[in-house]
Every structure is written in structure tokens, then in C-alpha cells.
């Protein structure tokens, strides 16, 4: 990946979640799309304000469903194959395909792979782990975003982005500060 230079975006800091949501709404209404809020706990209103609809994305849920189906099928097929072909046990002539007994490990594996898919799928969709991110360069970000401050970042690759205009928009929304974030 080529070394990126220049600005990642403009980062505005707010003291309360209400101020953040209002600022996010105002920026969205001003036509910005490439932006994100950074908060110390999940705020659904902020997601609405920046136009992000997770249920519509269906990412995590889809991966979870797929993982569950594949996990359950895999175990059921393994059990059937082992019990019928690979290692058949003749116990007083009882049937080899005793599927009720196979349901239990298959059930457990459905949950196992659905859960692993949900967890790791969430991380993958979020592009995590990513130990480096330009936002960590902002001087006030690390002291607040994971404890008690609320941030809105307008990203430089938004077509409407311009250092001066975006800055004056953010400054009109009563932030504590607005800083430029370097790559």
C-alpha cells in the first residue's frame, strides 16, 4: 500500500452525546457522507444521523447464519459418514443411520460455528484488528474517545470536503475543538 500523505479528516470534539448527534445530523444534511462518530459506548442515534443502517447491511447476521448452517451440516454429515461407512458398528443388528443421536453434536456445532462466525465476522467487517489508524494521531482523541468524549470526523475523501468550509461548518456546531488529523 502506498504511503498516504496529507489530511485524513477534520475531527470535532463534543462534550455530550446530544451535541454529537446534532452535529452529525447537521453535517449529513449539509451533504457529507464519508464521516463517522467515535463514542465511548454505542449510540444508535449517532448511527441514524450519519445514515448507517446496520440491520440493512445484514453483514454480521448473514455471516452468522451461514456459519451456523455449514457447521451443523458438516457435523451431521461427518457423523453419518463415520457411522455408516467409515466405522460401522453392528450392535445387535441395530440401524446404522441413527440420526436422533447425531442431532445433538450437530446442534452444538451449529451454535459453535454460528458464534465464531458472528464474532470473527464482526471483526472482519469492521476491518479489525488494525493497530494503526490515523485518528490515533489526533492529540485529543485517545484521552476521550474511549472514556468520556464524543467525536465527529469528516473525512477528507468526501467529495464535499474542503479544509476551510468543512472547518467552518464544524465550528458552527459548538464543538470543544476542531483539529486536523494527519495520515
Amino acid at each position: 500500500m502506498p504511503v498516504r500523505e496529507g489530511i485524513y479528516g477534520l475531527l470535532a470534539e463534543f462534550n455530550t452525546p446530544t451535541e454529537l448527534v446534532m452535529a452529525a445530523k447537521a453535517s449529513y444534511n449539509a451533504g457529507y457522507r464519508r464521516m463517522d462518530c467515535y463514542t465511548p459506548y454505542p449510540i444508535e442515534e449517532a448511527a441514524e444521523a450519519i445514515g448507517f443502517d446496520e440491520p440493512k447491511e445484514k453483514g454480521v447476521a448473514g455471516v452468522c447464519l451461514l456459519g451456523g448452517i455449514l457447521g451443523g451440516l458438516a457435523m451431521f454429515m461427518l457423523e453419518s459418514w463415520v457411522s455408516i461407512w467409515a466405522y460401522p458398528l453392528d450392535i445387535a443388528g441395530r440401524g446404522k443411520f441413527s440420526w436422533p443421536a447425531f442431532v445433538i453434536p450437530a446442534y452444538e456445532w451449529t451454535i459453535l460455528w454460528a458464534g465464531l462466525s458472528a464474532g470473527f465476522g464482526m471483526l472482519a467487517l469492521n476491518r479489525l484488528p488494525s493497530p494503526y489508524h490515523p485518528l490515533f494521531n489526533a492529540p485529543n482523541f485517545r484521552n476521550g474517545a474511549t472514556s468520556d468524549k464524543f467525536f465527529l470526523c469528516l473525512e477528507a475523501d468526501d467529495p464535499r470536503f474542503s479544509i476551510t468550509e468543512s472547518r467552518s461548518l464544524l465550528e458552527s456546531l459548538h464543538p470543544v475543538s476542531v483539529v486536523e488529523v494527519e495520515h
Binding site: 463517522d36 465511548p40 446496520e54 458464534g115 458472528a118 479489525l128 493497530p131 474511549t146
Partner: protein, 474 residues
Amino acid sequence: MATKNISPQDPMIDPETGEQLVIAPGHTFRSVTEKLARIVLTTHTPLAWFFGLALAGSIAMMLMVAVTWLFLKGTGIWGITMPVAWGFAIINFVWWIGIGHAGTLISAILLLFKQKWRNSINRFAEAMTLFAVVCAAMFPVIHTGRPWLAIYWLFPYPNTMNYWPQFRSPLMWDVFAVSTYATISVVFWYIGMIPDLGTLRDRAKSKFGRFIYGQMALGWRGSTRHWMRYETASLLLAGLATPLVLSVHTVISFDFAVAIMPGWHTTIFPPYFVAGAIYSGFAMVLTLAIPIRKFYHLEDLITIRHLDNCGKVMLATGFIVAYGYMTDIAYAWYSADKWEFFMAWNRMFGLMGWSYWILIVSNIAIPLTTLWSRRLRQNVAFLFIVSLIVNTGMWFERFVIVVTSLTRDYLPSSWGTYRATRWDYMTFVGTLGLFTFLFFLFIRFLPMIPMSEIRQILPGAKIDEAELQHKGGD
């Protein structure tokens, strides 16, 4: 300003509802973050922590000794014999797994029911689950005597002997139930911790701390898009963990219920095992929470409301367990089967009858008569004692189920008795030490109360809708 007859109101009681508050008033995002992060990031570890860790560690050493000797000599050093081939190993296995279940109940089922009060206690309840599963899973493995061979007995993998396991056996079901339970518990616990690890990364002063927590936080930065996917993943994991936790103790009860032993072969076992698991698990939550909140001064975050609610859950599940005991006796009477009838009589009045009465006194007589009282439920010392009594009682429940049935089966010629040896006791007490040791490490190095979830229930987290309507949307 003088007003008349205003009694000094208890600040912990909500004036509107008259209920105990979930979190003491006056906390802000910063105060909660600092209070909880300081426990982990402090450079002044309390001396008592070192003392506790050393004590628990030396008890865990006993486990090391007992298991080493077991691997050298074989399972003959235990008290297991014919007819009681399942002794302490299975009793401790079932007991420990049951304790783990309350952690999943708190973190998953109460999340689905939107019980916000659980937010302060879910993290360490999940840690309790993990460590309990570690202790539990050890028993069936060492019970095989030669666990390095057990890999091909238990796991289906292509091996040079062309051998495959028998999937119709409840013991194989156990393997998948317990291994899934352990894996999903780890994933749920770790994912829940990622935002808090981010907080620790950003607040750590030492370079080493920043590096370690930074690696563990995976670069979490609190992006709203991330949070929304994270919330969906948490809900899905909770939705998966709920049927999982119910299935695990059900599968474990199949170990017994699928056999034809009198006293085991009953359909009541699955629900009765699950209820007993939650009963003992909540007791263990109290056993852990009460000393921790006192020692780390967390009374503001783990409040009387939490303890009171745990007491209520214990009361409810305790009655399900009591119903199970009565059903057992009713089955014996109604079945008109003389072996079942003899089993019930033998449990109560036979050679091992004392263990049944310990179980009745400590699981039913003491807790189910006292936990009705709000005053007793809110009495911390009393709750602590009851939690210890219930855990003892639940251990004896497993003892009664395993030993009384096996020592007196159908043929008097195969009757026997059971006496645990010092190695059995050392292994059991050793796992208590291991559990405590792991718990001490956890409360020192990881955030034991989820900061990000506490923030959500603070008054400052409310979005002011009126202001939004007024100013926003222009």
C-alpha cells in the same frame, strides 16, 4: 428554607419507584472510567492481592501434585471401584459446569431480556464461567487416566488406526457440548472486553501496558459503524449462548438419564439439572461478588440491588430444584417399580442417607425459607453465608445422584460402597484453588466491570430529544 418532616432519604433508593438504585448517584463517564481503570492500571497492587494469589496458588499446587501422581499410578489411587466407577470426577465435573452456567445466564439471557442491571456483574460472571469450565473439563479428561490417548477416543480425526468415535454415546455428546460451551464463552467474553481494552490502552501509563492492551484491543476506536456491528454480534452471541447453555446441562444430564440405573433413568433430569446449575451458579456469583465489592470499594457499582436480584433468582431456581426432588420421589412411588422405590428409600435412609439430608437442609430448608425476606436478601453477610451453603448443597446433590444410585443397583450381589481417598479430596480442593487463582489474575489484569456498558446506564448517556427536535434537523 425550613421544611418540616423530611426524613433523611436513603440516597440509594429511587424516590420515584422506591426501589434500590442499580448504580449509586453522582457518577459520570469519567469517574466510572477512572475508578475501574485504576484497579487494573495501578502501580500499587494491594498487598492482600499478592497474599490471596499466593494462597490460591499453593492450593492449586495440590492439584498439580494429585494429577501428577494420578498420571504416574493410574486411576487406582482414587476411591473409584466397582460398582462406583464414577466417583468424585463426575461429581466435580457436573458441579463446576453448573457453576459456570450462571455466568452465561447473566451475560446472555439477561441481555436478551434487556435487564440493564446486569451490566455491572456480567463481565466477572463470564470470567467465572470460563474458569469453572476449565476446572470442570479437566475431570473427565483426567478420569480417562491416560488423557494423551483420550484424543482419539474423543475427537473425530483421521488417525493411523482407522478408528472413529461412537457418536451414539452421551459421553461423545459431552465432548461437543462442553468444547462448544468453552469456545463460545471465550469468544463472548473477549468480544465484550474489546472496548474496555481500548480504554485501558488509552489510559495506560507504562509502555508495556500500552503495548499489551493495545494488541488485545485490536485497534478499537469506538467508531459508530463498528459499535453497531458490535451490538449486533453481541445480540447474536447472546441468542446463541442461550440455547447453548440450556443444552449443555441437558446433555450432561443425558449421561445419567440415558442409563437404566434406578434414580437416573428419568425425564425430569434435563430441566432439573439446568435449574440446579443456575441455582449454584448464582450462589457462586454472590460468593465472588460480595468480597470483591468490599475489597475494591465497588459498592457504588455492584449495589444492594444486584445482590437482591441474585437472591431472587436463587429463590426461583431453588424452587424448581425442590420440585425436581419431589418429582423424583413421586416417580418412585407412582412407578410401582420396586427398584425405583427402594432407590428412593435408600437415598433417604440407607447407608449414605446423611448426604441426602445435608442436601435437603442446605438446598431447601435454609435458603428457600429465608430468601423470601427482603431484609435478609439485602443483608450482605447473610447472603454470603447462604451462597456458601447452597454451593455445598449442590455439590451434595451431585454426590447423592452419583453414589446412592451406583452403590445399590438391581442385583444385591453387585452392591458396594464408596469412599473417596485423599487424592480425590486433593484434586477437588485443588480445583477450588485453581479457580480462585485464575480469578485473582483476572481481577488484577483485566477490567472486571464492563466500563462501556456501565456508561450506557449513566444519566449522562441520555440523548436530549427535546433539544434534538429544537435545534437539529435544520
